[in-house]
Each structure stands twice: as structure tokens, then as C-alpha cells.
Amino acid sequence: MTRLSGGLIDRNTSFSFTFDSKTYTGHEGDTLASALLANGVRLMGRSFKYHRPRGVVAAGSEEPNAMVELRSGARTEPNTRATVAELYDGLVAKSQNRIGSLAFDALGVNDYFAPFFAAGFYYKTFMWPRAFWEKLYEPMIRRAAGLGRLSMQADPDSYDKGFLHCDVLVIGAGAAGLAAALASARAGAQVILCDEDFRLGGRLMTESHRLDGAPATDWISSLEAEFETFPNLRIMRRTTVFGVYDHGIYGAVERVSDHAAEPGDKVRQTLWRITAKRAILAAGATERHIPFADNDRPGVMLGAAMRAYANRWAVAPTKSAKDPIAIFTNNDDGHRTALDLMSKNVPILGVIDSRENAPRFGDYDLFAGSMVTGTKGRLGLKEIEITNGGTASWHRCAALGVSGGWNPNVHLASHHRGRPVWDDTLLSFVPGADGPAGLIPAGACAGLGSTAKALADGAKAARTALSELGMKAPDIALPDAEDMPVSQADFWHVPGKKRAWVDFQNDVTVKDIVLAHKENMKPVEHLKRWTTLGMATDQGKTSNVSALAVMAELTGKSIPQTGTTIFRSPYTGVSLSVLGGGDTGVNFRPRRLTPTHTWAKSQGAEFVEVGQWMRAQYFPQAGETDWRESVDREAKAVRKDVGLCDVTTLGKVDVQGADAGEFLNRMYSNMMGTVAVGKVRYGLMLREDGFAYDDGTCARLGEDHYVVTTTTANAGLVYRNMEFARQCLWPELDVQLISTTDAWAQIAIAGPKSRLLLERVVDEFDLSNDAFPFMGCAKLTVCKGLRARLFRISFSGELAYEIAVPARYGNALMARLMELGSDLGVTPYGTEALGVLRIEKGHAAGAELNGQTTAKMLGLGRMVSVKKDSIGAVMSRREGLASDARRLVGLLPVGSTERLMAGSHLFAQGAAQTIETDQGWVTSACYSPHVGGYIGLGYLENGDTRMNEEIIAANPVEGSEMRLRVVPAHFVDPEGERLRD
């Protein structure tokens, strides 16, 4: 064990966990990384390309190396950073991206072939022979690539989404964030404080600095106590704000139960969409390393991470005086690590500082003007080479902390593609002025990294935010804190011939950058794409700026001239589950149920999706073994007796107003508005570009009251277009619109006996042909006083009615009609039979009215009135539409009883079957019990002049072909007499 004294772990609560099946013990407050380090485990992963052994580098979410598969079974979570995986009892983790064990990864052989795997090598080879790419090269590459493994099982946990609104969102609960939250909350603003960590404090928890002379944790505790008293402050721990979207909307993920073995009744995570009037970005800074030869061995870490492990988690990578810790730095901050470690009695080899005039801060060996130029240790650091001028020497060393300066976490400030700007004093990029509106960077992420400056800047950011919101900011007393200036050298990497890693995870070395430069991949985006630098899971947090510096050195330009780097959301990886949260099964999207759903279900109906609706598809009866049997029976019943079908799903729009008729005339291509009161008219709607759009009926219930129907699929769209016309095109018209689709249960009663059946439910209403002829409509009552609307319209071609009653009565009315019609052979029918009936009658549906067809093609050319203007009328006359010769025809198989397939293409007999000779296609097809065989509808070139011609329907994708005879597009009652009886 390498535990030290102190720290923010609860030594009274021990957790047992396993890593690669070996059991270890840690404490509450540990991360997986700190607990592994405490158990002396340094080797935690393998790199992406060379499969080099790797240990933990960082102590936060920027970790590029220590990636594990957390949990097991369906909950396996690949690529989890051990540095942020909160330890819980029973935690199970495995190393990943290895073949064999972590210590003996067979793909480690890649490292020996590293010279062949230089940047971009795969663009230059694997081209011959061509077929080998998919068969050999690519499968090999794919197997070797990737990191962790998915379980391939559905995620068993549940996820939530939510919406929060606030005045001030504070992102990050370090020194700056805490000061900002305190000031904002005291001002009475609605405040949300988020931090990705499970404790508040940020780097205050990982430093030994004191506030007002006491440990920083004292101040944090007192603050937390005060925070409890603010009803206007919401503290969200374990919550990462991962993205900045337009107008002050922030995406955040709260890890509700990732610190438990299983979520239990809770959700695993919640996606919050936070709408904030102002946000204060207090995201801190990330330390960068200094590339040198073989700088990637387990044991080489960021200096501040090493300090964090010691101070917060009471862990050092080693406690052996024989194998001490060394620090390699180009700045003063590195020395702090040495001091903090020494104060905890950790043996120190010394501080290697690249600066000739390196200052000394304590009693340790100082290697001024020196560099680390090499390391040894296959699975963990054993020795380092220290070079001063021409003199090199090897030293035993178990861990090396590397401090290369700090990069402000500008990420969120650049999510709107605003560019960070270079600060020559800080030697780093800081947020530019063109960041997201309303986002105020504060503290270390704005380049103000000392504790005192961060505290003050957080308070200042709060004042700015509050005053912009018209609120008064209170003066808050900030604790006394360190304010040490950090001197640092403009020193970016150690020159040398061996590989020096810049991007650890993706194995991008200084040499790769040199090669990219040589090959003219100089723009930073080319550099990244050619070498994959910055594309790893840390998104370049630990590598981008160092790489820029190397490229700048090669081009002889300054770093900002060489390029900047902006970051895209998410700040850290966000689980796909939480982004897609909510229901993934049958409740993934709303289901709309018809008013007779309960009844249909009780009848054993099969249901089918139609838009959002679940409609009865057919009603199988006992003894029926095939869906066709049921459908044939239903369709026959309509032609012979009477059938019932729930047609509620058609859109219904209530149109009222003095100008309602005129409005409808403009919306529909025909004279819709002039239909007489008590009558129904069929109408066709075009799009403004002249193509057919929708069809429906218009019933005039009163002088200035109409109800129009739309197709089921287009209900919402047609309503939208009507509102557009009403508000934007013709606002002078007196028209009021409202949808009533759900209000009325509408049941089609179709068939020769429909009148007989209907007579049994209406209350004193004359249904005779004279009193209520075809295309009549009326308000009436049924079943002893229930208000209803009756329409005499027919989709089946039979004598038919549609009756509408308040939706709550639809179920009972259906049952009643079934009961009263039993002696008439009444039969419920579903969408399949409905389809058969309409194809037999040649009525267009979605397959014909598909947005690509014209009124003429549908055979409805005459419905586009030339006497008046309507939407689409002008454009329907364009050359291309007017000259389209395809027409809707009926199609009858000749000499074949095979099934005719919709989607077959039509060709002249004997013609070669190519795209040039293609003459149309079968839009709809079905078995027609009436005809006694398959029938179809289709669009055919000059179809209206080719009656009785025999043509070919070709369906190569299913290997079928058949001869068809072209017939008129109605197979039943061509004169339309039945529906007028």
C-alpha cells in the first residue's frame, strides 16, 4: 500500500473491488485510479496503436491512458476513465484493448513494428490487390483498432431527461465557481451550480494551500452549509455541463447512480437541458506534459495529478526511498508537487527544471537547466535519464511528475466556434471575445489561476452577470489565499531521436508531427487528421497545444500563427443512452389509439401502424389460418352485406367564418367552398409547386361552418398549411380553424345493407335516397339522443355512410352496430380490407398520392379549376407537369395466379428492361376477392390510351415477372351506381 496521511477519503468505509479479476480494497472518496495507485497498481491500460503499456497520467476527466471496461454483463461500460470512476463496494473493472493479459498483450508486438506505422501510413498501402481491402486488410485493422468492447446487450438501465431554467448557471465548483455561486445566490438570483466531481471544491481539494490560514476544506464546508440555506440555489454534483447551445441553453448530464453498483429504482443518469440567462464558466485548467523520449511509461504522470493524488486521495505512486519520485518541469508549479510530496514524507529524487536559472523552493535536489531524455521499465517506470548539457545520467525512479504549464479549459467558450486567443505571458490559449453570448469565463479557465485571483474573478463574473440581469450584487468577503505568480519557460518538448509521445492514447509522437510537416500536412486541421492527434477520447485536452508548439517550431512561425484549436461538444464523453434517454421500447414515440381500440382488441384484431395511429389491420376469426382469408372475408362482406371500419384517423379540420368558403376555394384546386349546406364535396389539394398533395372531403354543416377531412398521414401538415394561408397569405379573410380529429369517433358503415343497419341506430332520421342522397351530410342523434354527424360518402364504392359521434361513445357505438347488424351479416373490417376495397374502386391513397404525382397523373386533371386561383394552380401548368404522360391505370395479371407485387416496374412487352425503357410502376396491388385474382393500380406512360394492351411487370429484386393487361382503374361498378342507390 502506498497510502499517505490525510486526504479526503473515509478510512472507516472500505470498499472491495476487482481489476482484471484481482480483488483490492479502497475507501469511500476514492476513484478507481486512486484506489489502484494505493494498491500499487501502475499498469492500467494499453495505447491505441502500439499497444504500449500505460498507467494513469491525470487525476481528472482529461485522462488519456487509464481507460477500463467498468461493470460487467449488459452494464459493461467501455472506455471509462479510472480517474473519474467513483469507487463503490463491489466495483468490477477490466483493462481493455489487449489480446491476452494486460501485462502480456499479444498486440504489443505492434510496438516493434512502429516504424511501419508512421503517421498516415495506411493511406499509402493496402491498395493491392483491390479485393483484399474488405477481405483481409480492413478486418485486420478493425480488430486491432477500437478500444473497449460493447456487451452487445441492450442497456438495462433507465434514463431521464429534464429542463431547468435559471438566472445564473455556474459551471465548475472550484475557487472561482464557488465564489460566483455564493455571490449570485446571495443576490437572490436563481442559481444552478454544476460540477463533474462528486465533491465541491475543484482544485481547492487537491492543493495544500490554505484559505484564511485554515485548510481549504474548512472554507468549502462552511460554504456548503450556507448553500443549504438558499432556496434559490440548486447544487448539482456529478453533473457535467458538456455543451453550449444557442441562446443560453446548456446540455448537462447528471450521473445519478453511477456511484452505485446498480441504479435500483433510480435512473442511471439524467440529461438536463438548462436554459440560463447567464452562465459563468469556471472550468479550471488542465496541466500539460512535456514530450520526451519514452515519456509514456506507467509511472510518468502530470505533476499536478501526482500532487492531487497525494493531497486529496492520500496516495503516492511509491513510498520506497530506493525508487523515489522525480519531477520534470519548465515552471515553478512543478516545484510545488515536490514540496507537497515531501511534506507527506514521500521520497524525492529531485526536481529537474529545464530553466538554467531555475528557482529553488525547498530542500530537494535541483537539476537546473536539465531535461529528462529517456526512461526504462517495460511495464512501469524504473529509471530515468537526466541530461544537463552534454552530460547524461540514469537514476532509479518509480514515478515522474511532469509539469509543462497549464492550459485553461476554454472548451465550452469555443463551442460556438469562437477562437481562443494566445496569451504570451501565460503561454497558453485563453477564451476569446467571440465566445457564446452570456457565457462569462472566470478563474483559471480565463487564465487567472492563482487561488486568490480565481476567487476574485469568480466574484467579479457574478457581479457582471447580475448587473446585466438588473440585479444588485452583494459584496462578499473572500478568504485570504495564495497568489503566487508562476514563472514558466517557453519550453515544449525535449529534442531527441527516440519517440516522444504528444498524444498518449492515439500514439502520436513528435516524430509523427515532423513527418506531417515534411509531407505538407501543415495546417493544424491537416496535422490532426493525418496523425489522428487530438482525436482520442480526451479530445486533445492533454496534447493539442503541445502539438501546435512542435509544429510552430517546424514552420518557424509563432504558435498562434500556426493555428488555434477549438473544441466541440461534448466536453467529456456522454453516454449514448442518456442522450437518447426515455423510452426505447413501445413507448419510444406516442401511440394514438382509435376510439374503438378497446373493442377491436377484444375482437382479437391485429393492429398496424398508420402514422402515429394503431389501426385494426384485420379481424381474424376462428379457423382462419392466413391473414388473406380474413381480409378476403371482410372485403366480401362489404360488397355483399355491410362492414364497419373505424376511420377516425382521417384529419378533421373545423373551418368557420364569413370567408370560410372563399378560403377553402383557395386551398383546394376545385370549388370546395361552394358546396351546399347539408352536402359533402370531394376535393384535391395541391402544393404550391403544383404537385398533388392531399385529398379529402368537405362537409358544409352551416352557412359559415365547414368540416374538411385530410388523409391520416397529412393531417398535421395540411393543418399547418391552412394556418399558413390564413395568417400569412390571406390575413384579411374571416376564417377560424381548429382541429377536431380526436373529438369525433368516425365509423364507416359500408355495403348494400348499410342503410338497413343505420336505420336501426338513428333517432327519427329519414335515410331514404331522396331525403339523404349520396354526398349528403347532416347533424342528427343516434341511440336515443346521442349527438352525431352523418356523411354519405364512400371509399369502397358501395352504398356507404360515415357516422361520427363524440369519441367517448365510439367504442359503444361500434359494439351496438355489431349487435344490431348481426342478422345483416355485419362484419368489422380493417385497413387491409379497406385497401382492397379502394384498389378495386381505383381510389388513390398514399402510394399514388406520394408527393411526386400530378392531378393529371391521378386522372384528376379536371379538378384543377382554371376559373379561379388556388394553391398550386399556376405551377401545375408548368411544362414538366403538363407534359407528364403517366396515368393511373388498373392492372390485371394475364395467365398467372402469382402474386402481383407493388413496386414492380412496367415495361412494354419485348422491351429491354432498363432505366430508359421503364414506363412506370405498380403503386398498389392486392388480391381482389371480387375479381377473383390479383389486381393492381399503377402509373403507366400514356396509360389512358393503352387500355387492353399487355405489358410486363418486372420485379427483379425478388426475381419475378408477369404479364399484365391495362384496364381502367376501377374493378367494381365502373359507373358508380351502387354508391348512389
Partner: protein, 416 residues
Amino acid sequence: MKFSGFKVIKEALTGHKGWTPLWRDPEPQSAYDIIIVGGGGHGLATAFYLAKTFGQARIAVLEKGWLGSGNIGRNTTIIRSNYLLPGNEPFYEFSMKLWEKLEQETNFNSMVSQRGIINLIHTDAQRDAYRRRGNAMRFAGADSVLLSREELREKVPFLNYDNARFPIKGGLMQPRAGTARHDGVAWGYARGADMRGVDIIQNCEVTGFKIEAGKVLGVETSRGFIGAKKVGVAVAGSSSRVMSMAGMRLPIESHVLQAFVSEGLKPTIPGVITFGAGHFYISQSDKGGLVFGGDIDGYNSYAQRGNLPVIEDVLEGGMALMPMIGRARLLRGWGGVMDMSMDGSPIIDRTGIEGLYFNGGWCYGGFKATPASGYAFAHLLATDRPHDTARAYRLDRFAKGYVIDERGAGAQPNLH
């Protein structure tokens, strides 16, 4: 320099000393025969085929940023030719055939990977529509397979077959479809064009056209005036902006399309899968990232970034379709600016200005079109006649009513 496995080995053994720049950084000459505006995939492919196939010389490609900085570098890398309409399908199939020999033509491994695409079927009506499409593909010489639910389940067992809001009933597959490494396509064409003498001029923004008496004489750029006999514009995403400098209004709106990649994973998804009932499609890159996307954000935008609702919509679709991806993490999202045309199909045509040619309106389908678009545009620039497969991509098809509207959505770009 010829790239080969042998060369890679030789350089590895000799310290990588022999590599040379993939392309030059030439200073612009005062005039060229043909200037291509736009150093993206289409512009670079155009230059490549002009030089290689159509024997043209004195060609420059002008790129306002770094080459490949537009949509060629920000897409989901899918290549396919599974179109329905006769105006489109032969063109995309031509593109497919060019993809199949791309690497041998450019001597650059663009990682064209024909692992297939499957469009899922959820309703009988969709099956009919896909049957029509699958047949149309066959008649244009492409490949297509209509998969039953059982056949599909065998190929991709990890979909949500049993508890789905939109049941999965099968799929339309194009086995020859797949993916290609997007940057590698741009670089392959760029290197191939450069080797054939094309001047690729980066950081050279076109700021105006010099037009006299209805004829284009050259372009004004951030690096001065450059004369040209012919100017071809291939700047999808910025088409309206650039063509407005020539006084033209286009049947195009610019929209943002977001795409996403997960953290790297071991092989999971074999080919490309598109959800037919939600807005989601997915493949897996050779590096292991799941690459996926969905619908455009839906509003005009040049911002190269999108908003959260679409991200949620895409992942909701993804999780409903394949809930086994849930434990993976989103690594990165990006937004590309799409030339959304009024019928969802592109334009490759002459303009009313002599010597000025336009290539654009690719909606979100520009990547797969890159080879054929370059070839057809080169054909048009070199011969003044449209390539056979691109005849329908006329600019006047809107006014005349010969739109190529695969979705039947009409003149509303955000519905295509």
C-alpha cells in the same frame, strides 16, 4: 512518388527520410484555362478528372481555407447508389463504379469499404416503396437485395426486433455500398491532381467574379485577380454566397447537418444501417468509432454547429433501434453546412454567364457523389456538354417542372 506497401517498408527501414509533400503550395499564376472555386471533395475531384481524363492543363483550384475543410471533412462517410428516380440513380451508380476503382486511379488508399448498407423497413407500404426502389436500382445496373425480417435478423441480430414501437420488418440492402475515409478522398484527389500539374491554392478566397459582356474573365481573390477562360464553382454549403457575387439567386438554402462519432470500440456494426422510422443512421469507422447522424436541424444556418434537440432526436432513434449501443459514449459532434436544394437533388450546369459553371445543391448526399460529381463537372467544363448521367441536374428544371424529388416533399428544403 508512387505509394505502395513496398515504399512504406523501405521508408520505415530508412528513417522516413524519403517522403515528400503530398502536394505543393504554389503561388497563383496570373491566369489559368480553368479555375475551380472550392478545394473540397468535389472541386478536387473535378480538377483531378480534368487533368487525368479530359486532358486539360493550366488548372487551378482555389480554396479559401485548407483543402478539404468543407463538407468532405465533416460527413458520415457513406457511399451508396440506392436512389429511386431516373434522374439520380444512373449518376450515383456511376459514382459507385468510380469509387470502386478510386484508389487505383489516385494511388492513395481512401479506404473504400464495401460492407453494405441496409435501409430498414417498418411497414408494408415502406416495403412496396423499397421494392420499387430496389428494382429501379437493378434497372440502372446497381445491386439491391430485399431482405426479409429473418434474413435481416441473421445479418444484424442486435437490433430491437421484439419490443419496438416501429417494428422491423426487413430491409433493402445494397451490398456494394459502404463507407470511405472522408479526408482520404480529398487527399487522394488533391495529391493526384497536384501530381498532374493542377495548382491547388489554399488560403485563397474568391471575393468576386470579373464578368464582362455576359462572359466571365476571371476571379477576384484575397490574393489578387486571377484570370480564367472558364470558372467552375463547387462550394456546396456556400453556393448561394458565392454565386450571389455573380448576381445569381439559387434554388438553395443552407442548412446545418450534425453528425456524431462515439469513442472507439471493437467491431460492432458491420455495415451502414439506416432507421426507416426515426432519424438515425450508423456505421463504424475502421478506427472503431460509431459514426452516426440523423436529420438536419431544419433552419437556415451557416454556423457549422447545431443544437441539442437534434442530438437527442438522433440518439432517441439510435437507442430505440439498437439499445446495445447505450453504454458507449459520444465523443464528438460536428455540423456541416448543406446546400439544401428545392427538390433534394443537385445541380451541375452551365449558368447564364458564359464560362461560369455551377456545381452544388448536394443536400446531405454530397460525399457519395464526389467521384461522379467531379467527373461530370469536369466533363461539362471540358466539353460544354453534360455528362450522360448528370443530364437531369439542370438549373432550369425547377422553372420547367422537371424536378427530381426523391422524397416527394416539394419545394421545402428542410424536408428533403
